[in-house]
Every structure is written in structure tokens, then in C-alpha cells.
């Protein structure tokens, strides 16, 4: 089988090339060799591949940069029964994700340079996706003292965050932004004002009927407004994660219009689901921040569409059965997302809201640019991290078939369209035909 990793060039021909940077969707080919993209374009090999070069016939399916997922929780270290780098890597390969950024809220948390080196070492062993680590913004993710941001950044951390915990103290956030500016690093905040976000689901009629403690949707606006002022004050680089409300989208939109260095992301569950998914106490629909109202969902879709929301992240967070088969209020939040990110994002395409290149800007190109990562684009010399997918193939999401160690998806049994057919990492085919490619598994 043709394989680009041994240095021999391989031509992926007869493809529908999705180029997010050029915003084009056209027939073409990609030539890869030495793990890199050597050439690509509509005219490449239009007269047929030259003799002697191995070819892969894409049969008109979409060939796009591999997904760059900025938000993945693993259980390693500390909770290996939920997920390891191996199972997360397998899930990524199955889902067309070739780069992932791992959140620091492990046990121990990534508040020390040695843990960033640990992630890099494990990624080299696993070889199923490029894996990067966030550094903890504060020591022990406690929101009290700054972590050694300079040393952790030097060890390779791509950005700094306390994960799902927002920094409550305005003074600490101000100093964090100033300090991060010193080292030109990005701060990522999940903007939910903590004292207003203690409940299990979104405030409103459904929470009232279910008798569940709730987190008010304006917790997002309150935290974001404050953070925008601090960004204005400090000039620090700031990225808000998991925007879930109409007000949140609006605040970021206005901040960008004012020229602030602010970006943000959201996850598929915030544009594909609303609080009704909680239904009859479904703990698999418990996430942080909680699923919001339908009007919020629509605003998030519009934010993704108009570019206010820069990136789509999976917010992959594995939880074992023991963490979810408990009363709703006690259940751990989070859903797995690596294997459903692509099909749920494609709903934006099937609903006529966005073109495929635009969706790939949110999934690959912009995340890579923001975090200064090498993948995410079709470009000569860029790593040959690609996903071949059929946008139309219909299937039903079945967590039993996930590569991920746990099956806590909010999209269980959802009929969907579009799926990764092949995932290529540094020119190596690592997943094909719904299974890990044998060479990879042997390796």
C-alpha cells in the first residue's frame, strides 16, 4: 500500500479539495512525500499522475486538512480508566482529528514544566495524532497563584488555562494577562462567572420542572464583559472557550469590532443541541457550561457562521459509567467528541449555513494559526495531515463503536451525515475504512 512516510511521493488524485485558507472547494490532487505536502491544486495531475508515483484515488470524496482540535481532556495522567493517550489517539484518528491540545486538568495538573514534556513524550510513543499540552494558568488550577508560565511555555505549552474553571479574581486575571503578555502566550478562559455557575443545568423552565439547581446563562456575559475590559487594560492575548449564549456571542462580536485581541470557540453541542436534550435527567447531556436555550443555540450558529466564533472544538471529555450513572446533580459533566466533531460540524453544511472551506477554517486553519501549530492548512511544505471524508454518507452515531474508552456522548443514536474515510498523519495513513490501519497498529 502506498504510504507517504517512507519518503516516496504519493499522489492523492481525483479529490474534492477543501482549502480553508484559500476558501476554495474544487476538484484536484495533493502530492505528498517525506510526510509533507509537496504540491496540491486543481491543475495538479489533471492529465493523470506521472508514471512511477503511487496514487490514491479519492473517488471524488473531500480531502481537507486534518482537524485541529483545541480542546481535549484525557484521563492521563491520573484517570487512565477514562481515557489514555492511546485511546484518545485512536478516537482522533477515527474522527479525522490530526492535532489535539490537551487540557491541563489532569491529576496532577499540568502546572509544572515536566508534565508538558511528559505529554510530548507520550505523543511520540502513540503517534496517532499530534498532541500538545496547555499549561495550567494557576498553581493546582486553584485560581490563587500564577503557575510558572515562563518555564512551562518554554517546555512547549501552547496556551494557558485553568480548564473549565474560570478565574474569579479580577486582579489575578489582570496580572495573568500582563504576565502572559511578558512571554507572548495566549490565555484561554471558559468565561462562566463561578459563583453564578454552581448549578447542574441552564436556568429556566426546564430546570424548574426538573427541580435541578441551575447556572444562569448571564454568568457568561458577566465574566466575558469583565474579561474584555481586562484585555483592553492589559493588551494581553485572550481566547474565550465554549461560548454558549447569545449575549456571549454578541460581546465577542463587539470586542472584535473595537479591535481587541480576542478570539473564541464553541463546541458542537452548543450549536447542535439545546437544554431540551437534558430531557429526563440524561446525564450524558450534562456539560460545562450547560446546554442553553434554543435562542442561544441559534445565536451560536450565527456566531460560527459570521466568524465571531473562530474555532469549533470537540471539548472531548471522557467519563466512565460510574461518573454518569448517578443522579443528575452529582454526575460529572462532559461528553466525548473526537469521533462526532466532524459529522456534527457538517450539519452546518447540510443545513445550508456554511460552506465546507468555511467550516474547515473553524475546524483546522484558524485553530492552528491561533495556537501557532504546524497543521491545519493545505500549503506546500506543511505536514501532510489530511482527512478524506464523504460529506453525504448517512449513519447513526453508536457509542458502542467508538474508539474512545468511554461512550458518554450526547449524540447517541443521532442520525447523521458525513464521515471520515481516511486519516493521514505526517503522510502515514493511520485510519481507513472505519478501522485503524494495520501498519499503524503493528507499529
Amino acid at each position: 500500500m502506498a504510504n507517504g512516510s517512507d519518503g516516496r511521493p504519493v499522489a492523492y488524485i481525483n479529490a474534492r479539495l477543501i482549502d480553508p485558507s484559500a476558501d476554495t472547494d474544487q476538484r484536484g490532487a495533493v502530492l505528498i512525500g517525506d510526510g509533507k505536502i509537496l504540491d496540491y491544486g486543481a491543475n495538479l495531475f489533471s492529465g493523470g499522475a506521472p508514471y512511477g508515483i503511487a496514487t490514491v484515488d479519492c473517488r471524488g470524496h473531500c480531502l481537507a486538512p486534518g482537524i485541529v482540535d483545541l480542546r481535549v481532556h484525557t484521563g492521563e495522567p491520573g484517570e487512565e480508566h477514562k481515557e489514555t493517550f492511546d485511546t484518545a489517539g485512536r478516537a482522533a484518528a477515527a474522527g479525522g482529528v490530526t492535532s489535539m491540545c490537551i487540557l491541563p486538568d489532569t491529576e496532577p495538573p499540568f502546572d509544572d514544566a515536566s508534565l508538558i514534556e511528559f505529554v510530548a513524550r507520550r505523543a511520540r510513543q502513540v503517534k496517532l495524532a499530534k498532541m500538545y499540552a496547555y499549561g495550567a494558568l494557576t498553581l493546582g488550577l486553584k485560581g490563587e497563584q500564577l503557575a510558572e508560565i515562563g518555564l512551562i511555555a518554554e517546555a512547549g505549552a501552547v496556551a494557558f488555562t485553568d480548564g473549565d474553571r474560570a478565574i474569579a479574581s479580577a486582579q489575578l486575571m489582570r496580572r495573568a494577562l500582563y504576565y502572559a503578555k511578558t512571554f507572548d502566550v495566549l490565555i484561554v478562559q471558559t468565561p462562566q462567572e463561578p459563583s453564578l455557575s454552581t448549578g447542574a443545568m441552564n436556568s429556566g423552565e426546564i430546570a424548574t420542572r426538573l427541580g435541578l439547581g441551575s447556572s444562569h446563562r448571564l454568568a457568561e456575559a458577566i465574566q466575558l464583559e469583565r474579561d474584555m475590559r481586562l484585555v483592553e487594560m492589559t493588551g494581553g492575548r485572550y481566547h474565550a472557550s465554549k461560548i454558549s449564549t447569545a449575549e456571549g456571542v454578541d460581546i465577542v462580536r463587539r470586542a472584535k469590532a473595537r479591535g481587541l485581541k480576542v478570539t473564541c470557540d464553541t463546541a458542537p453541542h452548543y450549536f447542535a443541541l439545546n437544554e431540551i436534550a437534558v430531557g429526563d435527567y440524561r446525564t450524558f447531556a450534562k456539560v460545562v457550561p450547560p446546554l442553553r436555550a434554543e435562542s442561544d443555540r441559534q445565536a451560536v450558529v450565527e456566531g460560527v457562521r459570521d466568524g465571531t466564533i473562530d474555532c469549533i472544538v470537540s471539548d472531548h471529555r471522557p467519563q466512565d459509567v460510574e461518573s454518569k450513572r448517578v443522579p443528575f446533580a452529582l454526575a460529572e459533566p462532559g461528553v466525548v467528541g473526537l469521533e462526532t466533531l466532524l459529522p456534527i460540524a457538517l450539519e452546518l453544511y447540510h443545513n445550508g449555513q456554511m460552506s465546507l472551506p468555511r467550516i474547515w477554517q473553524r475546524l483546522a486553519a484558524t485553530p492552528a494559526t491561533l495556537f501557532k501549530l504546524p497543521g491545519g492548512r493545505l500549503e506546500k511544505g506543511a505536514p501532510a495531515d489530511l482527512v478524506l471524508f464523504d460529506p453525504d454518507i448517512a449513519w447513526v452515531i453508536d457509542p458502542e463503536k467508538f474508539e474512545s474508552k468511554t461512550g458518554n456522548t450526547a449524540f447517541d443514536e443521532r442520525p447523521t451525515q458525513g464521515r471520515a474515510l481516511m486519516t493521514v498523519l505526517d503522510g502515514r495513513v493511520i485510519h481507513r475504512d472505519n478501522k485503524l490501519w494495520p501498519e499503524t497498529v503493528a507499529a
Partner: protein
């Protein structure tokens, strides 16, 4: 002895606003006292019969001793008051203390206080000369003068030199006084440190701001390190001592960016392994830290002489 060629105000509260001619005159006068201090008989009678009170609301051994030695070598009667330990605990206010001492008719008060502006306030209420021995995060004029004297003697000038002031700029009165003095005398000043330790709009003081020692120390003639207080080392302003030292502590490696012959300065007391490595602090070729202490006595003698040595009233236009 040369006489001052310009008028001096009654008090020395800060460097800001002090004209270049006054600074030069004070430095010139200080030069003469260096010789005095290096001779066998160090005592003069310039301030014979005058009374100087060192009024320290904040613990200090080095500065207080330096002022005491300076005043005694000029023949003054010196009284040291450590107020932190006495009156304040009894509830006496700053101004009560000042008025009490004023009633004893001293000629000069040397005042150090932990609150910015406290020395200015006190100066408004007393009849004698007041020298600011350091107020909060505002000014420490004699430190800037002794630094300038040290530099001028080594480099022959202040004008045109490139000086980097490094570390905790935010909390430093030494940095502020030095910025004012060096800018007035025509030197170029950079401040270097993490953004958490930079005062807001510090660039408006006419300095270049750098967040990296590599760029901040490039081609500088003088590296002035500042002391990082212990309570600021862990978590609030900087994450840890080791991280601060790695990125902002002065060591051999970071010195490589400086111009050959660059001098290393520190107002003391040093935190070795925090803001400065022992290897560079103790390198007598480049480190002038002990020379700064010596210059400190000469500068303080000059300040006392200029303010209460009888020169002031003899000068035209004196306040």
C-alpha cells in the same frame, strides 16, 4: 572647597523637577567628599553645631547608617529615631511626631516612610530642611544621586549612556528616582521586567519598556538591578523565585547582550539567586555594588552640606 553654583531648595524630597544644573552641582560637591572619606582624618566641621534627626518610619540599617556617618563626618549632632518601634504603636500620627521633633529645632530631618508622599506632607509642617530617605514607592533621591555619581566616575559622563533598570519596577522608588535623574542628565533609560511588575503607562516617563532581558540588555552600558521583595515572589506578581531568576535574574548569560565594559549595579541588599547571580554580583571587574555604598556617604554629605551648610542662604535666588 568649591561652592555650589546654583541655588538649592530648602528640602530634597525627590529628583523629579530637579534641574540638571543642581544635580551636577550636587555630584561635583560629592566628589570633594570622596577625598575626605578616603583620608585618615575624615571629620570636617562644616555642620558643627547643627542637629540632624534621622526619622525612620521603616526599618533600614544601610541607609540610616549612611546618613548617620555622613552627618557625623560633617560634625553635626545626629539623633536616630526608629519610629516604627515606638510612637506609631502608641497611636501618634505622622504629623504629631513631626511637630514634636520640629519643636526641638533640628536643622535637618532625614525621613524614611513606607507611604508614598508622607515625606512631602511632613516637609510642609516643619521649619527645617527635610531630606527624603525613601518614601513608599515614590522617590529615593539620594540613591539616584549616589548611582549617578558611581556611573559618572566610572564612565566619565551620564549623557548618552544606555541604562537598563531591571526587575520590580512597579514597587521601586529607586527606579523612579533613577529614571528622573538619568533622563534629566541625558541618558537613555530602559525598564526591563515582567509586565506584572511594570507600573501603568511607565513609558510616559520617557523610558523604553522591555519584557525580556535579551532585548532589554542589548548594548546597554549600565545594568541596574532592583531588589524583589520576598512577599512578591510567589504567585501574585511572579509565579516563583526559580522562574523569576530564569527569566529576569542577572547572570553571565544575560550579561552577554550588554556592551563590553557594562557595569552592574544594585541598591542592596541583594537577593542572590533571585534577581542576581553571585558570580556577576561579586565580579569586581564589572560589579560596582560596593562602590555604590561608598558613594552613598559622599552624596549624603553633599546633600546635607548643600541644604544646611550655610551655602544656601549665601546663594542668589535661594528659597
Amino acid at each position: 572647597m568649591r561652592s555650589l553654583s546654583v541655588s538649592m531648595p530648602r528640602d530634597l524630597l525627590g529628583i523629579e523637577g530637579l534641574p540638571a544644573a543642581s544635580i551636577s552641582a550636587l555630584l561635583d560637591l560629592s566628589e570633594t567628599y570622596i577625598d575626605t572619606n578616603r583620608s585618615l582624618v575624615k571629620r570636617r566641621d562644616t555642620l558643627s553645631g547643627r542637629t540632624v534627626i534621622n526619622l525612620f518610619f521603616e526599618a533600614s540599617t544601610r541607609t540610616r547608617t549612611s546618613f548617620e556617618v555622613a552627618a557625623k563626618r560633617l560634625g553635626a549632632d545626629v539623633i536616630n529615631m526608629e519610629v516604627a518601634a515606638s510612637s506609631v504603636k502608641k497611636g501618634e500620627t505622622l504629623l504629631d511626631t513631626a511637630m514634636t521633633l520640629n519643636a526641638m529645632l533640628p536643622d535637618a530631618l532625614v525621613v524614611r516612610h513606607h507611604d508614598s508622599g508622607a515625606v512631602n506632607l511632613l516637609a510642609q509642617k516643619v521649619n527645617c530642611s527635610v531630606i527624603n530617605g525613601g518614601d513608599g514607592q515614590h522617590e529615593h533621591p539620594t540613591q539616584a544621586l549616589l548611582d549617578a555619581l558611581t556611573i559618572r566616575r566610572r564612565k566619565g559622563r551620564l549623557e548618552g549612556l544606555l541604562v537598563a533598570i531591571c526587575g520590580d519596577i512597579l514597587h521601586s522608588r529607586v527606579a523612579r528616582s533613577n529614571i528622573h535623574l538619568l533622563k534629566t542628565m541625558g541618558a537613555q533609560v530602559r525598564v526591563v521586567g515582567p509586565a506584572t511588575l511594570m507600573p501603568t503607562d511607565i513609558d510616559r516617563l520617557g523610558v523604553e519598556v522591555h519584557y525580556s532581558m535579551r532585548t532589554g540588555l542589548k548594548d546597554v552600558d549600565i545594568v541596574m538591578m532592583l531588589r524583589l521583595q520576598t512577599e512578591r515572589m510567589s504567585g501574585s506578581f511572579v509565579p516563583s523565585v526559580s522562574e523569576f531568576f530564569r527569566f529576569f535574574g542577572l547572570d553571565e548569560e544575560k550579561m552577554k547582550a550588554t556592551r563590553p565594559g557594562a557595569l552592574i549595579m544594585h541598591p542592596g541588599p541583594m537577593n542572590r539567586g533571585v534577581e542576581i547571580d553571585s558570580a556577576v554580583a561579586d565580579d569586581l571587574q564589572r560589579s560596582v555594588i560596593h562602590e555604590q555604598v561608598e558613594m552613598g556617604v559622599a552624596v549624603r554629605m553633599a546633600c546635607l552640606d548643600a541644604l544646611i551648610g550655610g551655602r544656601r542662604n549665601a546663594l542668589p535666588g535661594a528659597a
